[in-house]
């Protein structure tokens, strides 16, 4: 079960033909898949395409009605390999993941798929995690399209264009026997917009039909001599077929400008279109509806580049500017080759006026276009004065001294562990273990647990990829006074960590310590189920314990800690693992449910019980401000959003004291840490008994009578001497 329920969105998937769909970009893609008669969908969750997976997971009923098979794949490699169903059979298949990371994982299968080619349309929907909001290395998926020769669609970021790209993508794939990649940028995935729907359609050829009538063709299998033939097929047959389809179906778009500016032009990736239009608008050269004085050539297909279209656009132009986000400048190099080969002398600008690296924000593109026009058509900028100006201030306000001073006060606010996160105590324990045994080399993994590298924990040296925490400690397999520590999440474990990390460590007799964070979900991507999830999921087999898997892989030293909040026990177990004389990998499985998901699950049940008059106890933590010393050692071992500071209210106590706010979920980390690290007695846990029973009330009355009497006695003394 994912973090967010998509019951409402799923209903949109049923919209009849001709109605208006309003919603997120990635949901529009989901609808478009059904409109295209997709036969199966698979993928691996991850921002920004998690919602596609989550919606389909919640749309079981409608998928069944249409005869569409949906799978939550074990990894992107699995998802890519799933497309094998479209090699021999005319079945449309789509897979999705976060890119480039997912494409890296998938590339073995993708390369094989692209070599042999496909019969049914094969669409790879990649969430291009690039620019602001990205959580991964900044690279382009473009390279994968080029190296394996898959076609890359980068549609204009409005729902209509995106939906059309999905439908076109399948047809293009079939017309050229080539898998097609559809690139969705982060903001396009999350953009709210509208499009007019078409009817969903059942796949023309079903998976069952394929199973019952199996087909094979050795020429489609990647093995010599077929593999040599494939390469020639790609350039001889599939490429020209794709070019023809793209031209005939006008997948790329030309927008005319003023005659006076006919000798200029902008060439852009479709995904940048809205930003380019806004940039032109800010220069007074376009309106809010995409009418531009400068002609535009919009590449909704960024690979392959259509030579004839480029030449046709550049012909009779003095200069064109290419807007290509990211590096290397593959398209620019390609265009230069095309122009030179054809002997066209049009000046091509690109990364000379635009930055080579980094996100192309509106401002960056505005500046680039301005620089281009200043050189090649200064009059174009002059004429813009006639347009109602909405140009930004000449001197940006960021240079104002008071705004500049903000650098000293505005703190960085990176993402971090949520309130009550069960991973926090793991790293508190690790910090305490290091206090006892010295600092160790710590290899991190991908997942929420990577927040350990940030303050207040500051733990971890490297992260090499999803599930590769243990693998990245492989080299440290030498005799030494200290062992390496590796961290791996349950998501990464099932993705590949079981083999790449655990089995590898067993096989190579690695002596290191591996901590597996088992929080019952693939949490960082939105709380999807994985094989070791504890939830009852009618569509998936869950509850496969990690411990059984690693014991099966041959690990002898395993400690399962079923409550990560037990900081002292975790610290002691870590210290044991770091010092034991047992050979081979030492694996600690630290288990507690992801608090975000737990709260979502438990809170409604709790409220229902309270309403029904049942006796229920709610726990939360607090700090006695008069006991707290204001040193904040507890915060340096926690960083919990609900554990903050406030003014002490005591004129003699200058430093702010710790304070637990109402968002506390009572996980217990504060108390356990204070106890394990021997910090201070200011923390308390308050048990709030809702709907107390008669026995509770009687007991409370007796206690209250005695305690109250003693308290009044002492208070009276203080009151007597009050100043």
């Amino acid at each position: 079960m994912a973090e967010r329920s998509f019951a409402k969105e799923v209903e949109q998937l049923r919209l009849p033909a001709g109605s208006e769909f309003r919603g997120e970009g990635i949901l529009a893609v989901t609808k478009a898949l059904l409109q295209s008669g997709v036969g199966y969908v698979a993928g691996y969750q991850g921002s920004p395409i998690s919602h596609l997976m989550d919606v389909l997971a919640d749309a079981k009923e409608i998928l069944d009605e249409l005869g569409v098979h949906f799978e939550a794949s074990a990894s992107e490699a699995t998802a890519a390999a799933t497309l094998a169903a479209s090699v021999m059979y005319p079945i449309r298949g789509a897979v999705t993941w976060k890119s480039t990371v997912g494409t890296n994982v998938a590339s073995d299968a993708l390369a094989n798929l692209a070599s042999g080619g496909v019969t049914g349309g094969a669409l790879v929907i990649i969430g291009e995690d690039y620019g602001e909001g990205s959580s991964i290395m900044q690279e382009r998926s473009h390279a994968f399209a080029m190296k394996s020769q898959m076609w890359l669609l980068d549609p204009r970021p409005n729902l209509e264009s995106i939906v059309k790209a999905v439908e076109d993508g399948f047809e293009l794939s079939e017309a050229s026997n080539t898998p097609v990649m559809l690139e969705m940028r982060i903001r396009s995935c999350h953009v709210h917009g509208r499009f007019i729907t078409r009817e969903n359609c059942r796949p023309a050829f079903s998976l069952a039909e394929a199973l019952e009538n199996p087909r094979r063709d050795t020429n489609r299998i990647v093995l010599p001599p077929a593999s040599f033939a494939h390469e020639h097929e790609k350039v001889r047959d599939r490429w020209p077929a794709a070019v023809q389809f793209i031209r005939e179906r006008k997948l790329n778009e030309f927008f005319d400008g003023d005659d006076t500016h006919a000798d200029l032009g902008l060439i852009l990736q479709g995904g940048l279109y809205n930003g380019v239009v806004r940039a032109l608008q800010l220069l007074g050269l376009a309106d809010a509806f995409g009418n531009s004085r400068i002609p535009l050539y919009v590449m909704n297909v960024t690979y392959p580049v259509i030579d004839d279209e480029v030449l046709a656009f550049c012909k009779d132009k003095r200069a064109v500017l290419l807007l290509e986000e990211g590096q290397p400048d593959y398209i620019e190099q390609n265009l230069n080759t095309i122009l030179r080969r054809a002997g066209v002398t049009t000046a091509l600008c690109g990364k000379d006026v635009l930055p080579m690296a980094g996100e192309y924000t509106t401002q960056v593109m505005r500046d680039g276009i301005e620089a281009f026009l200043t050189t090649h058509a200064p009059r174009a900028l002059e004429s813009s004065a006639a347009v109602p100006a909405q140009a930004p201030a000449a001197v940006p306000i960021t240079f104002h001294p008071k705004v500049r001073d903000l650098a000293a006060v505005v703190p960085p606010r990176p993402a971090g562990f949520c309130t009550g996160c069960p991973e926090r105590p793991i790293f508190a324990a690790m910090k305490l273990a290091q206090a006892d045994l010295g600092e160790h080399h710590i290899s991190c993994d991908i997942g929420c647990h990577l927040f350990s590298i940030l303050p207040p924990f500051n733990l971890g040296a490297t992260t090499m990829g999803y599930g590769l925490g243990a693998a990245s400690s492989s080299a440290f397999n030498v005799k030494s006074g200290k062992r390496s520590i590796s961290v791996m999440g349950d998501g990464g474990f099932w993705h590949n960590g079981l083999t790449s990390g655990i089995a590898n460590a067993v096989f190579n007799k690695n002596d290191g310590v591996i901590v597996i964070v088992d929080n019952f979900y693939s949490s960082a991507t939105g709380g999807q189920d994985i094989p070791s999830s504890r939830a009852d999921n009618p569509n998936r087999a869950t509850k496969h314990p990690i411990e059984a898997a690693i014991r099966g892989a041959g690990v002898k030293w395993v400690r399962t800690i079923d409550r990560t909040y037990d900081v002292a026990r975790l610290r002691d177990t870590l210290e044991e693992a770091l010092t034991t004389s047992t050979d081979g990998p030492k694996v600690i499985i630290a288990q507690s449910e992801c608090m975000l998901n737990k709260q979502r699950r438990v809170r409604p049940l709790f409220n229902k019980a309270v309403k029904a008059g049942e006796r229920v106890v709610k726990e939360r933590f607090g700090v006695d401000p008069d006991v707290c010393s204001g040193d904040h050692a507890c915060i340096r071992l926690s960083g919990c959003p609900s554990l903050s500071v406030k003014d002490s209210g005591d004129p003699l106590k200058e430093d702010p004291v710790a304070n637990v706010d109402n968002s506390c979920v009572g996980c217990g980390n504060c108390g356990e840490v204070a106890e394990a690290a021997v910090l201070c007695p200011s923390f308390y846990r308050a048990d709030i008994i809702h709907n107390p029973t008669a026995a509770d009330r009687i007991k409370a009355r007796v206690r209250g009578a005695v305690i109250g009497w003693l308290q009044r006695r002492r208070a009276a003394r203080l009151a007597r001497h009050a100043l």
């Binding site: 809205n274 930004p392 201030a393 006060v409 505005v410 607090g622 001497h721 100043l723």
Partner: protein, 532 residues
């Protein structure tokens, strides 16, 4: 010659800066829904990603009348991200996020209305500082007054809480109240109603936000960050306390509020006699101060002594903790803090970790010292007593136990800990006295160094060590120019980080003295040791 017709129609551009989990997405969706219902074309984008986990993030909305799209004959092309200098409305769901918006250039004096909630959600860097790491909120307001066309600042978080709702509702109200969007109040409220979840509370929060914005002054007032000192009361009920008060009133005016705070603290901590001791010590300082020309220095020495001697005398021990934990006022405070209703029962569990030093410290001097050195006793305590204890203060056994420990107050002055603390204080005050004759300002700084000593066990121990190093530094600095400023900067460095790296660096630089490496030569959490 053909010419492209540029149509009129400029979108309204709105940026919402929030932290993950604050409901910035809900607010953006509300604006979109309201606009669409009102015949506008609306687009929102965001980059939530991993920022959903408490990080800072931006939601961006653009609105354009459908009529304009009809006139142009094609749907609008709206931007996917805010452009610096091209935003009409910036909404910040937390004060520092307003600062971030300005840093990004999203706020401009020509166009932008900036609505910010003044509440703070402290960043890890701010709250993890061993001293006070909280950033100055007025810097954001100062910048906002310059950068925004209109600046509206109020605590929208508190309004939301008052209404039992969340900040997205009060922010939505503030947007409506500011009158910056072309929609009537009804349209806003209808949107909330249409959402169907927590409608009543949301509408209440909306109304509070609306009123605050509608009645907002042209420029928001500064946020008061001063720490008020107590007033000097006219009289006290108890004759002995009245004498204390009379004594306080003989002190220079500037020192009286702190003296009142000190006397109050020490009566609360021990008894009237203890407060009398305190005032006697302070009278000594006052005389010293007068001789050193304190008159012209606003009695800085006496002021510092009034504060830090009181703090030093009320050291944290088991007796104090037991006393504070068992008070009736504390029981009431916990109830209100957790928001317990009258029909609910509340029990607290304390996390205590008594150690040998604390147990011995609470015993009479000789007994305590003997037991502390006894291997048998020490071993027994370490094995049997010295581990985490979950103390249920609301149950009779535990309460009476704690109550009795609090009652040891009567023998406190004879305990081992008291002897240790007193010796420590005497040494510190003697140093101050010695220094004041030569360097008044340095003496004041020596007193202020007491701020480093706080907390329990490892924390206390670490502070104690740093304090000792600063005292040594003070001795070495005596006679040098700028000695006081140097000691102050050393003290700031000592409070900058847990490991003491800043202090080591400064000491090495300023005194050319070799920095003492922390035990073990690495960053560590100090092992427990009693103050010595």
């Amino acid at each position: 010659m053909s010419q492209v017709t540029l149509h009129s129609g400029t979108p309204i551009k709105i940026a919402i800066l929030a932290m993950g989990g604050q409901g910035g997405g809900v607010l953006a969706d509300w604006i979109v829904e309201m606009a669409e219902a009102g015949g506008w074309w609306a687009q929102t984008t965001s980059v939530p990603g991993v920022a959903q986990r408490t990080g800072a993030t931006i939601y961006y909305v653009e609105l354009l009348p459908e009529a304009a799209a009809h006139a142009a004959g094609r749907p609008p092309v709206l931007a996917m991200m805010p452009t610096p200098g091209d935003v009409d409305l910036v909404v910040a769901a937390e004060l520092m996020e307003a600062g971030r918006a300005m840093q990004r250039g999203l706020v401009t004096p020509e166009r932008t209305t900036l609505i910010a909630s003044t509440h703070r959600s402290y960043a890890v860097a701010e709250k993890a500082a061993p001293g006070n790491g909280i950033a100055d909120p007025n810097k954001v307001l100062d910048a906002g007054r310059e950068a925004a066309r209109r600046l509206l600042c109020f605590d929208l978080q508190q309004m939301a809480e008052r209404a039992g709702s969340v900040i997205s509702a009060s922010l939505f109200g503030a947007i409506a109240g500011a009158g910056v969007l072309p929609f009537a109040r009804d349209a806003f409220e209808a949107t909330i109603r249409h959402g169907g979840v927590g409608v009543e509370a949301s509408l209440k929060a909306f109304a509070l936000g609306f009123d605050a914005a509608a009645q907002a002054p042209a420029a928001p007032a500064r946020i008061d960050t001063s720490r008020p000192l107590p007033d000097v009361p006219a009289s006290a009920a108890h004759p002995r306390v009245q004498v204390l008060l009379d004594t306080v009133k003989q002190f220079p005016q500037a020192t009286q509020p702190l003296l009142v705070a000190g006397v109050r603290r020490l009566i609360d901590y021990q008894d009237v006699a203890y407060a009398e001791d305190y005032l006697r010590t302070l009278q000594g300082f006052r005389t010293l101060d007068a001789q050193a020309g304190g008159d012209a220095r606003d009695w800085a020495l006496t002021q510092a002594a009034a504060r830090y001697v009181a703090v030093a005398m009320s050291y944290d021990d088991m007796i104090r903790v037991a006393d504070l934990k068992t008070r009736g006022s504390r029981f009431e405070r916990v109830r209100s803090e957790v928001g317990a209703k009258s029909d609910q029962l509340v029990y607290t569990t304390e996390f205590m970790h008594p150690r040998l030093e604390e147990i011995c410290g609470t015993l009479p001097l000789r007994l305590g010292r003997w037991l502390e050195n006894s291997k048998t006793f020490g071993g027994f305590i370490r094995r049997r007593v010295e581990h985490g204890r979950r103390v249920k203060t609301g149950t009779l056994t535990w309460f009476v136990g704690l109550y009795c420990i609090a009652g040891l107050r009567r023998i406190r002055r004879g305990t081992l800990r008291h002897a240790i603390e007193t010796a420590h204080i005497d040494d510190w005050l003697a140093r101050t006295t010695r220094i004041v004759a030569t360097d008044y300002a340095l003496a004041v700084e020596v007193l202020a160094c007491r701020r480093l000593i706080k907390g329990y066990s490892g924390t206390h121990d670490r502070g104690d060590r740093r304090f000792a190093r600063l005292m040594q530094a003070a001795d070495e600095l005596l006679g040098q120019p700028e000695a006081a400023a140097t000691l102050k900067s050393l003290r700031d460095a000592a409070l900058a980080d847990e490991e003491g790296k800043a202090l080591d660096a400064q000491l090495a630089q300023l005194l050319r003295a070799p920095a003492t490496p922390p035990a073990g030569g690495r960053a560590r959490i100090d092992t427990p040791r009693v103050a010595a």
